[in-house]
């Protein structure tokens, strides 16, 4: 009998101590939970500092995607209308986020580090058609030193088919 009463008090004390603990829930959306640096959230298409797009429209991300969620169409750059430093750029870039499984294969496949899975996990939509992210939604804005694309560039500067990059093995 006494044992049972004691047990009830032990239980109660656990409850009471927990009540005084800091709560694990947060006041979303006012408050947002930080994520790990390697979290795989909504994709971002990146730019170089000068504002040119990193994506060269090679479609390797699309090929790597197990969900067939990426659609890339490439077009050629000209000096009058340049989007990326390479020969081509993505004229269409679409990700169906309803299909995406956030595996990050696209990021792995990308030769120019153009696409990464960002930290944003707020991917909810009011309609299914809103779930298809187009290039302008994915592309980050140009930084302070850069201009947006298309840019007009001097002839003879961007002559390489791929931009010069550090050797990843170094």
């Amino acid at each position: 009998m006494i044992r049972e009463i004691l047990a009830a008090f032990t239980g109660l004390s656990t409850t009471l101590t927990s009540m005084l603990d800091k709560p694990v829930t947060i006041q979303y959306p006012e408050e947002k939970r930080p994520v790990r640096p390697r979290f795989r959230g909504r994709h971002i298409l990146h730019r170089y500092e000068n504002g040119l797009e990193k994506c060269i429209g090679c479609a390797l991300c699309a090929a790597a995607c197990p969900a067939d969620a990426i659609f890339v169409e490439a077009a050629e750059n000209t000096d009058a209308e340049r989007y990326s430093p390479g020969e081509r750029y993505a004229s269409t870039y679409q990700i169906n986020l309803l299909r995406c499984i956030y595996c990050g294969y696209c990021e792995d496949a990308c030769p120019t580090e153009a696409i990464t899975l960002g930290l944003s996990y707020e991917v909810s939509f009011a309609g299914r058609d809103k779930a298809v992210y187009t290039k302008d939604m994915l592309l980050e804005p140009a930084g302070p030193q850069g201009k947006s694309t298309p840019q007009q560039t001097p002839a003879g500067v961007y002559t390489r088919s791929v931009p010069v990059m550090e050797n990843p093995a170094d």
Partner: protein, 918 residues
């Protein structure tokens, strides 16, 4: 046959064949670069090293190049020997030293032989980390992109371009580590086979420039087996589509027809499919003065129903560029007696005649492959480079057959390309060219003969007579022609398998007869001679096999009987007949119904116009020049209101309530009807399995299993992934799901292979997995079947319609047709690159005639012929025979004129008011 041991396992192989050829034929993967199945070995790249052992006790062995080592009895080699494996990996590393790591931006990426071979050798990490060699790239014209930094110095390109295709403006330059493959200066590559560099080069140095404008990875292309529509040879092709646009054409191997190569007209002539001149909606006009209005397809059909219902008679005009099925559907709709050939009157007669000739000697018809392996050739009349380009390629190879005896005597194998060429030097087998003027094959010819069409025919008759005196003899042959005929006859008689190449391009029946006589004469003395006739268009033979009336008969009926309506199938009649006759014809017909894919002057005359699908959007059969029926399949579903012509014609039949066997609702049913009505067309039913064909219960997918973007590419329309279009007409599906071929274990029949691919073999070199033996027939037989079949009827009599000798006329010139590879064909001209290379309008005249007519350099001429007057700039050309003049036919600016014809040529009066058609 000898027994050799590869990694301890015995194999029965052909004696003397090289080990690389053998390994690949046996399904053993061995990397290679400089060897090419169509070009043999040179042993330059050292990539195909294997270990060879003296006998079973030899454990050390030595490295040899598989491509340079012939098989002998008891030979022992190892492909898997660790030293050989290491050697091959180190070769790749060394080749990679200077190769940029730019696969992501390289158009070859994903179908690259270098990628495949690198993976095959297992080499992954490179040690080289210094500056790479770089080159300046050249602008090689509208077809080929040049990126020299990717070169691995295998020499395939220059061997193909100079040694096989006969080009002169491309070479290897410099030495040591900086060998450069290109032209001396920037400029358009001259060879009409330059597009093959894209497939011959194992890397991305040469890539397709037209494809680049709408580039897509190979794994993203939807493909289906197809046939080239740009000349009568019917080369097999693989067109690729993505997102509703035809992106490119690649070669599709067919042992009997085009082998590994295509000509540039065929490879690049696809862009009309994407043209903005495509007719996409049904159109009609209330009366002849009213403007066209676009209408829904049903309204168009309703209108046709009204027209045709009240009509006593409807006539149908077929087309030599429409499929056999569409032509047959029209023939059924209007009735055989009201079905007319849409070819020019001359072509109609000539092709009908050609069919008769071929039916006389079916066993002697040559395939393109047989032309290539003939050891003597006589060309009567055809400028093959411009009329049937791959035949020119085949003839170029044929001159190498006879001198092979020299290298064979020295015990040099035929595959040992450098040694064989070294032994033979410049010696060539007999090739005689009798044409109007210079051709680009002249450098290969033993002798050329430039003369009027009649004289060419007479030379042919003379040759036949020299071979067999029972063949009729032309009278009053001049001594030079007589000498030449003796020489030709001797060479043809000495050959093992001579071929006579002729055709319809000079529009002269007696040339066909002469060619037939030469073959008959050779056969009568026991030579297995062959005949190869080129025809005007991709389905000329198929059309005429349906036995239509001629265009003139159609005009006559329209004039005399009360014909209410004419249905014109995929045909621009302004390319086929005199404009004045056509105006009268259209005036005499109350209602004109046109089905076509591109807007053209005939479409402008339509009262009802229906949008027809192109070859890439249709299923159909084309019959090539040797009567080979070949099936092509829909590469993609046409958009808007475009439908296949036979589907439209069937719908018209339905709307008219024609009593129609229900089976004709499908493509299979249509073919079945056709075979029932014309039993000699039975092979058409056998060239490909019917639509119900399945492998393991599945259809064969048109999309590769790697096809990307499926779930997002239509998202701009609807996020609900659409159901893939259904294909009731063939065993192929418009999706990536279905039977995945795993050659050589299991694969679809050759006629149904949408694209050649095997694990580890992403480039076109994957073909070796689909062939019975490297560069042999495809497993299960090559696609296509001949319609005109042996046995031969009784020996036919010689033709004796020998034309009179050519006599020049005072004040007139005989205008003879010349052809241009880019320009004379109707559809390929819509490719901007081909339009750019089209020659200008001009009249070519011999200098002596020019002098006689007082014509000099820059003159514009007034040419009156066939009651038309043209203004054409003068071009003086020494190779045009005296008394004749050459005029390039088919150029888009030129109205049709029936050639050859006598024409009056005068300099244009200074204040002339004649309208220039140009």
């Amino acid at each position: 046959m000898v027994t050799i041991y590869i990694d301890g396992k015995p194999y029965q192989v052909d004696a003397g064949q090289n080990l690389l050829h053998i390994c690949l034929s046996m399904g053993i993967n061995l990397p290679y670069f400089c060897w090419h199945p169509a070009m043999g070995s040179v042993g330059a790249c050292r990539q195909c090293a294997v270990k060879q052992f003296r006998d079973e006790n030899d454990t050390r062995g030595r490295l040899v190049m598989a491509c340079m080592t012939p098989a002998v009895e008891g030979l022992r080699i190892s492909v898997q020997d660790p030293q050989a494996v290491e050697f091959r990996a180190s070769i790749i590393e060394w080749l990679m030293e200077n190769h940029p790591h730019d696969c992501p931006v390289c158009d070859e990426g994903g179908e690259c032989h270098l990628q495949d071979m690198t993976v095959m050798t297992g080499h992954t990490y490179r040690h080289y980390r210094w500056k790479k060699r770089t080159f300046r790239n050249q602008n090689l014209g509208p077809f080929i992109n040049h990126e020299m930094n990717r070169c691995i110095q295998c020499y395939r390109c220059v061997r193909f371009y100079r040694g096989f295709a006969g080009g002169r403006d491309f070479d290897a330059f410099s030495n040591h580590n900086t060998v450069y493959f290109g032209r001396k200066t920037d400029g358009v590559l001259e060879s009409e086979f330059s597009g093959n560099l894209v497939e011959v080069c194992p890397t991305g140095v040469f890539t397709d420039k037209t494809f680049r404008k709408h580039y897509t990875r190979k794994w993203d292309l939807q493909t289906a087996p197809s046939v080239c529509v740009n000349c009568s040879l019917g080369c097999n092709t693989t067109p690729g589509e993505r997102y509703g646009q035809l992106r490119r054409i690649r070669n599709r191997y067919n042992f009997n027809v085009n082998g590994y190569f295509l000509c540039d007209r065929g490879r690049y002539g696809y862009e009309f499919v994407n043209s903005d001149r495509r007719i996409r909606q049904a159109r009609l006009r209330r009366n002849r003065e009213a403007a066209f209005e676009s209408v829904a397809p049903d309204e168009g059909l309703q209108r046709i129903k009204e027209i045709v219902k009240k009509s006593g008679r409807t006539i149908g005009i077929g087309s030599p560029r429409a499929s056999l099925e569409s032509n047959f559907a029209l023939r059924t709709l209007v009735g055989p007696e009201h079905f007319f050939s849409g070819a020019t009157v001359k072509d109609h007669e000539l092709v009908t005649e050609a069919i008769k000739i071929l039916r006389d000697i079916p066993s002697s018809m040559a395939s393109l492959h047989e032309v290539e392996t003939s050891d003597a050739a006589l060309v009567l009349g055809e400028d093959v480079n411009n009329v049937a380009p791959m035949a020119a390629y085949a003839l170029r190879q044929s001159v190498r057959c006879k001198p092979q005896a020299i290298s064979q005597k020295l015990k040099i194998s035929d595959w040992d390309d450098t040694a064989a060429r070294e032994a033979v030097q410049d010696q060539k087998g007999p090739l005689y060219l009798a044409t109007i003027a210079d051709t680009r094959l002249d450098d290969m010819a033993t002798r050329t003969f430039h003369a009027s069409p009649q004289e060419i025919a007479r030379l042919g008759f003379a040759v036949a007579h020299q071979i067999s005196p029972t063949a009729p003899q032309p009278e009053n042959l001049d001594s030079a022609a007589l000498e030449l005929s003796k020489m030709i006859a001797q060479d043809l008689k000495d050959a093992e398998s001579p071929v006579v190449v002729s055709g319809c391009s000079l529009e002269e029946k007696s040339i066909l007869y002469a060619a037939a006589n030469v073959v008959q004469a050779l056969r009568s003395i026991g030579k297995p001679a062959r005949l190869f006739l080129t025809l005007p268009e991709s389905n000329s033979l198929g059309l005429e096999l349906l036995e239509p009336g001629s265009l003139n008969q159609a005009f006559a009926i329209a004039r005399e009987d009360n014909v209410e309506a004419a249905i014109i199938l995929e045909n621009d009649l302004y390319r086929r007949s005199n404009p004045a006759l056509l105006e009268a014809f259209f005036k005499s017909i109350p209602s004109v119904i046109v089905l076509d894919s591109l807007d053209n002057p005939t479409a402008q005359k339509a009262d009802v116009l229906l949008p027809a699908a192109t070859f890439a959007e249709s299923d159909g059969t084309l019959v090539n020049n040797e009567s080979r029926a070949q099936r092509y399949f829909q590469v993609f579903v046409p958009q808007d209101d475009i439908k296949e012509s036979w589907v439209w014609l069937r719908a018209i039949g339905d709307a008219l309530g024609q009593e129609e066997p229900g089976a004709r609702k499908t493509f299979d049913g249509l073919i079945a009807d056709m075979v029932k009505e014309l039993p000699f067309l039975a092979p058409v039913q056998e060239i490909s399995p019917a639509s119900g064909f399945r492998i393991a219960g599945a259809k064969i997918p048109r999309q590769p299993h790697r096809y990307s973007g499926r779930t997002s590419m239509h998202a701009n329309v609807s996020v609900h992934e659409p159901q893939p279009p259904q294909d009731p007409d063939s065993p192929l599906s418009f999706s990536m799901e279905g039977f995945l071929a795993e050659p050589p274990i299991e694969q679809p029949p050759a006629s149904l292979i949408p694209e050649f691919w095997a694990p580890g073999w992403n480039s076109i070199q994957s073909l070796n997995k689909f062939q019975e033996e490297v560069s042999g027939p495809l497993i299960g037989g090559d696609p296509g079947k001949r319609i005109i079949l042996p046995p031969d009827p009784e020996q036919a009599a010689y033709f004796d319609e020998i034309p009179e000798p050519f006599a020049s006329r005072a004040g007139e010139l005989l205008l003879a047709p010349l052809y241009a590879i880019y320009g004379s064909e109707e559809l390929s001209i819509h490719t901007p690159g081909e339009a750019q290379l089209t020659p200008p309008l001009r009249l070519e005249i011999n200098p002596r005639d020019a002098q006689q007519f007082n014509l000099t350099g820059e003159t514009v001429l007034q040419v009156s012929v066939d009651s038309q007057v043209f203004e054409l700039p003068l071009h003086i050309s020494a190779s045009i025979p005296e008394g004749t003049a050459g005029m390039i036919c088919g150029l888009p600016e030129m109205p049709y004129v029936a050639l050859p014809a006598w024409g009056k040529v005068t300099p244009k009066p200074v204040n002339s008011s004649t309208e220039n058609p140009g």
